[in-house]
């Protein structure tokens, strides 16, 4: 059974009260795309590496997720957004743990369309499932490649090398090399592999501990942290003109007078749609309120 032939809606299923068990033997791209980055409300980008965990399926290259500068500081990229659910802190802990770096030496960039992987929407408890597993695996891959580099440098086996949790690899004879030195000799523009050595949970240093949330300080001090705090050069403000309540519309709206009100730059009209654009937010609201004083009618 191909997933495309499944056209039952949630309502159909609830009405029928039945049990539907579906499985797919064919790796249709649509079925796979539903596995990565989608969450509620739509699939993420195309799957190119179906065997990798989470959003690595769509973005398998390590440097899409993690970069390490010559000073040994890591920058981690996630396509999931912090909404107060604490995900930026949780993902930061995951990255620090699997890199085995102190959390203070890991920076994390969230949901930046120019810099981070496109992980679709942030909802449906998918952030840890998709981004967390991708970052954990990518970080473990990066650590594995750094260990391999150290092993080559010292001409010893990789299994003999340990990390001290402070940004240094250590050989059994006490020789040490820091992450930055090794990273500067290494390209992370390579694909992750699935079967990668992971940190032993019994030796976790950062995961499983309660760290202060990274987003809270700005929220307590008026920092720019919500989309409402974004101010662009020459930014204007708009309000959509609607009736006074759901299911209503204005009749005979006096757009001419509204268009002459202070600060009003433009009235956008397209069929039954109208919006007011003004220099300041309050000027847009004042013009909207003026228009809403006119009579209204019930829409069918």
């Amino acid at each position: 059974m191909r997933s495309e032939s499944l056209s039952w809606s949630r309502r159909d299923l609830l009405t029928a009260g039945g049990l539907v068990v579906a499985f797919s033997c064919l790796s249709s791209s649509r079925a796979l795309s539903q596995l990565a980055g989608g969450g509620e409300g739509g699939a993420g980008p195309k799957v190119v590496a179906p065997d990798l965990p989470g959003s690595l399926r769509s973005f398998p290259l390590l440097d899409a997720w993690i970069r390490i500068d010559p000073e040994g500081r890591a920058t981690v990229f996630t396509g999931k957004a912090e909404l107060g659910q604490g995900i930026v802190t949780a993902l930061w802990q995951v990255a620090a743990e699997e890199l085995d770096l102190p959390a203070a030496r890991v920076e994390i960039v969230t949901a930046d369309s120019a810099r981070t992987p496109d992980e679709g929407v942030t909802s449906g408890s998918h952030s840890m499932q998709d981004s967390g597993t991708a970052i954990a695996n990518a970080a473990a891959n990066v650590r594995m490649l750094l260990v391999a580099k150290a092993a080559k440098l010292w001409e010893i086996e990789t299994v003999q090398i340990t990390t001290d949790g402070l940004g240094t690899f250590v050989a059994p004879d006490g020789r040490r090399v820091d992450y930055g030195t090794l990273a500067s000799k290494l390209s992370l523009h390579v694909s992750a592999i699935e079967d990668v050595p992971r940190r032993d949970p019994n030796r976790y240093r950062t995961m499983g501990r309660s760290l202060p949330r990274r987003d809270i300080p700005a929220k307590l001090t008026g920092g720019a942290i919500y989309v409402q705090d974004m101010r662009l050069p020459g930014m204007l403000h708009a309000r959509v003109v609607r009736g006074p309540s759901v299911g209503t519309a204005l009749k005979e709206a006096d757009f001419d007078t509204a268009g002459r009100m202070p600060g009003v730059v433009k009235i956008v009209r397209n069929g039954k749609f109208a919006a007011i654009v003004a220099r300041s937010e309050w000027q847009a609201i004042a013009a909207l309120r003026f228009l809403q004083r006119r009579p209204w009618y019930r829409v069918e």
Binding site: G84, D215, I216, L220, T221, P262, E281, W282
Partner: protein, 157 residues
Amino acid sequence: MTITLHVNGRDHTLEADPSTPLLYVLRGDLELNGAKYGCGLGQCGACTVQVDGRAVFSCLTPIAALEGRQIRTVEGLGTVDQPSRLQAAFLTEQAAQCGYCVAGMIMRAQALLDEKQHPTEADIRSHMDANLCRCGTHMRILRAIRRAAGLPSTEGF
């Protein structure tokens, strides 16, 4: 009209319609992010700031009423590096989920602490009644205020 508003210890002279609610001047003209638009009706408290020490809804207070008054927003309390006692208490208690209400919560609580150095639990609860947190962080917020007021945490209360 031209109006001078005294915000966080500084005078700001600006051009605005006298009916403009303070919130829009704080966010739009002065680019202060702390006070938030929530309901625009004085029903949620996200826009709360202090005027002459008292907690007011900035979404409902026209600037015409504010010349010569001392306006204080959360930016006037402290910074990330040097938070005020109350902000530090919110940080210690991690008293925010989405955090949209929290600047308003802090400013309402500050008004109480400015008026009463040692408020009781009942004082805190009745004073904070006007501000809502949709995420349900109220218990942490109350713990943060108790902490700043030097009251015992009263775990589980």
